[in-house]
Amino acid sequence: MTKKDSSIDPKSFLIVGAVITLLLVLVIIVGMFWTPYSPTAMKYGRFQSPSWNHIFGTDNFGRDIFSRIVKGAGNTLVIALSTVIIGAAGGILIGSLTGYFGGAVDVVLMRVNDALTAFPSFLLALLIVSLVGPGSKYSVVLALGLVFIPSFARVTRSEFASLRSRNFVTGARLTGAGHARIIFVYLLPNTGRVLLPALTIGFNNAVLAEASMSFLGIGVTPPDSSLGYMLSEAQSMVSIAPWYALSTGLSIVLLVFGVGLIGEGLQARAKEVD
């Protein structure tokens, strides 16, 4: 355990990241039940610049931007979380089975995996959305979730493949532990070190991917909204109401930054243990 050359303690990354993320999540959760103004009411005057009454100003229909961002961020969060859950669940399942059992199934599945990762994930998501039919947040979640499976599968597989020949696994077999027990009780907890940072990176990628898809109009559509969708709205009026694009963009940045810091801290800590 040697001191790392970077002078910043990974713990401080973790703490700052956790504080930012928790605050945002808190605001989002409160926003699900209460926002200062109705996010859909068009009665607050069009294109008002930020003031104490409307801290992020109002948009072209006279809606309060702050309230809309809180609601939209809620959608973004739900989409990103569901995406990561689908991707991680599928990837961990495939990766642990192939990594643990090996053999022909492993070879075939991993080649398929390699082939899938050769495409830009965005392109694959586009394909899936066009197959499922665009227009709802469920198709976005499904598309991104499926696209995220290969990377989780690869990470999990390589950890399992290196762990399965360790003595403690051999010992467990000799005491009569079954495959399921070995996979879930022995091996999976040992992959946390690499999987936790992968989860945070996956979450950020999901936030950005959802934002880009909605920005391009193949993601969330009205009446739903999300940060990405709002950003695409904001760009058409960036010269009249720059605060709209700015506040929406900064919200995305802040969300990704907070979770990114957590991931950075986790990764640094994992390296320190090595």
């Binding site: 053999g103 022909a104 003595n167 403690f168 051999t170 010992g171 000799l174």
Partner: protein, 244 residues
């Protein structure tokens, strides 16, 4: 010294390399016509250079690898193994206590209270300091880890154990303590051991009989004093000279 706990009868075998989809198979023989018994209550040493097939033989005895010919007869249930490297034989995410209790959980016959009682008794028996019971492997020394491994191997009350170079990763002073522990456990718990080592001095200190293995064959076996004082095969002589 009459009842065998393990009979290895004219066993030969090795590995089959399998090609990508299990098509091509190349066979490499590692063990050739190995024949011996482990008797009740004894510590049988197995010496030989690395690469002579000691580990392969171990895997066959444990049922992880099938012999090509010959047979292996167990007269006891669930033989256990103590590995050379105490660093990879414990799961890094769990405590010492967990590791010792785990075989009992898998076995599934006792309730939580009875499991704890047995675990604490075994941890006392292997003389692991109490403050280490709740420590994870990273916070234990090599010797302490090996005590945990021994406790975990013994918790299901096996009658026969394989110790695969259990002390060669440890300091000399710790080695002596672990060897003493193994002797003590053998006497108290009525165990039999197959003790694998490349260190002839360790084997001399511990074992009752010894097998000498070379290139997959047993070249000599007999009582320890007999073999050490009066080696018959050239190879044994060479080994003994090298270790003195």
């Amino acid at each position: 010294m009459k009842e065998p706990v393990l009979e290895v009868r004219h066993v030969s075998g090795g590995y089959r390399e399998s090609g990508v989809l299990g098509t091509r198979k190349r066979y490499q023989e590692v063990i050739q016509d190995v024949d011996f018994c482990v008797y009740h209550g004894e510590i049988l040493g197995l010496v030989g250079e690395s690469g002579t097939g000691k580990t392969t033989l171990t895997r066959m005895i444990l049922g992880m690898l099938k012999p090509e010919s010959g047979e292996i007869i167990h007269h006891t249930k669930r033989p256990q193994i103590i590995f050379q490297d105490p660093y990879s034989s414990l799961n890094p995410v769990y405590t010492a206590e967990w590791a010792v209790e785990e075989p009992l959980r898998v076995f599934g016959k006792y309730d939580a209270k009875e499991r704890k009682r047995r675990v604490y008794e075994m941890l006392e028996r292997v003389k692991l300091p109490r403050e280490c019971w709740n420590a994870k492997p990273d916070d234990l020394s090599g010797g302490q880890r090996q005590r945990v491994c021994i406790a975990a191997a013994l918790i299901q009350r096996p009658r026969f154990l394989i110790a695969d170079e259990p002390v060669s990763a440890l300091d000399v002073t710790i080695q002596a303590k672990i060897l003493d522990l193994i002797k003590e456990l053998r006497d108290d718990l009525d165990l039999s051991f197959l003790f694998i080592s490349h260190d002839l001095n360790v084997v001399y200190q511990l074992c009752d009989r010894v097998l000498v293995m070379k290139s997959g064959r047993i070249v000599e076996q007999g009582d320890i004093e007999e073999v050490y004082n009066n080696p018959k095969s050239e190879y044994t002589k060479k080994l003994l000279e090298a270790s003195l």
